[in-house]
Amino acid sequence: MERKTVFPQRLLPYLLLAPQLLITAVFFFWPAAQAVWFSFLRQDAFGIRTSFVGLENFTELLADPTYHEALRNTAVFATAVSLLSLGLGLLFAVLADRRIRGAGLYRTLLIWPYAVAPAVAAVLWIFLFHPQVGLIGRWLNGVGLGWDYKLNGGQAMLVVILAAAWKQVAYNMIFFLAGLQSIPPSVLEAAAIDGARPWQRFWTITFPLLSPTTFFLIVVNLVYACFDTFGVIDALTKGGPAKATETLIYRAYVDGRVNLDLGMSSAQSVVLMVVVILLTMVQFRYVERRVHY
């Protein structure tokens, strides 16, 4: 049954929607439109003259080897963060699902990282991984591993991946837990009676039944890793050393705010926007149609 609310006046629904529409317009559509406009412009070094350059910003961007570098970094970073946070989120959800009585407390503990501001989270990771003062950093150096993420690009990437994934694990776990709890216990019991051992039950029943959740989370995590990790990177490595942890979003910021190249920065923002729109479209497509049973 479908329930429809019928408003007596035509105007009322629009009035009710107006605040939300206004906020969306002011804080999203307006800046987005500006970014698109700026991406066709170029300013001279002193910011005095602005000229229309068409698609030049884009062609220059796509030909820039450092942009390719950022693209590669983003791919590595986003894949690793998503895999790690999804894997750990699923693991914790399965553990919590087993002892659901303690899950209230467990959930609260695990949701904390999600609520912690990026800067605070980064400080926490500095405490752990700083080569001289960090707990783990000192230990790594102690056993002779030559740990210094401020100098070693690979190590820097590892640290930002860990920090970014850590913040997302709780979110994933909550969704996986909800997914697990929606699987009727009798289905798993039927599988047990059919002869499946716990591990087989997980891979043949639980995991496939979680696929809508998993797919949704893959998209969310990719979007998070690509666009929402600016704070973590900025606080931990500032994109360094030698741009080793500079992802697309971080580079857009550096070009815009630090290098004051608004045209290039806007062109990058537009590219990112297109990617977000594509990811979101994929998500709606699949969540609505493909991934169900």
Partner: protein
Amino acid sequence: MATLSLAGIEKSFGATRVLHGVDLDVAEGEMIVIVGASGCGKSTLLRIVAGLESPSAGRVRIDQRDVTALEPAERDIAMVFQNYALYPHMSVRENMAYGLKIRGFARAEIERRVAEAAALLELAPLLDRRPRQLSGGQRQRVAMGRAIVREPKLFLFDEPLSNLDAKLRVQMRAELRRLQRRLGVTSLFVTHDQVEAMTLGDRLLVMHQGHAAQLATPMDIFERPADTYVASFIGSPAMNFLAGRLTAGGAAVALAAGPVLRFADGPRPGAEGMPLTLGIRPEHLVPAAEGLALALDLVEPLGSESVLHGRLANGEALAVRLPGRPPAVDRLTLALPPATLQVFVAETGRRLDPSPA
């Protein structure tokens, strides 16, 4: 085919005791129906047999082998759940094949068995559908098919028909009985529908608050219920109970409602004046010139018969079942044929049989 034996099965969830020592011996190929009110522990008992719960005390043996400590997978049983518990992400074919695949059967053998079960249950045209594309009755058949293909030692059914509409239920009931006979698999069938209980079981186990109240053939239970609980549970409308006292040296009962009735089958042991509960089924009461006067307060015409409810002069409730149309009266005088009386001790509710001659 196998035998099943339960010895002193107890189960507690925390402080709540749900089963208080249930014993049951099931012969090869036998179908035992477990009935009882909601919450009396039927499902718990079945789940203990399946290995989904472990008993707090007692042993489960299948074919004399103690399986109490074994996992469900190691017991070689199949279970049909009330909600069917089909695997939602698998086709009907995959649902039925799953247990065989997990157990490492050869592909050809799996296909043969699935095809056989599908033919038996008329599922062949549905093999490639997903469970959510099936009707309730079809899902029920798939659940049956999933149990059959395994060719298990034991079938367990937990109210498998309770989600079906009345007509389908009757049809599936008959099909299920035929199937079980044909396959000859030892079965436990849980229900709280007494028609199912009466028609399906070779023997009936009536459970009451975690105890086995009575284990006997359906007709035995109907005709000679072990206590007032069983008596009231089996038969519809339920048996009437009237208070009385033992009198005439055990040869008769003096009803609280007035009349003194002699037992047809001999005197009962017990002290003079011992409180009794007298049971009589609604269909055994007959209108007569003399007897108990009943003031009717509700008439239920059921087509081929009518059920009349009323009260006796002393306030006790009584139901009568009469063939045909209900008589257009508001009072009835009823006789209680002595041969149909059931006698119970009021204090314990236990059946009181005549003292052996």
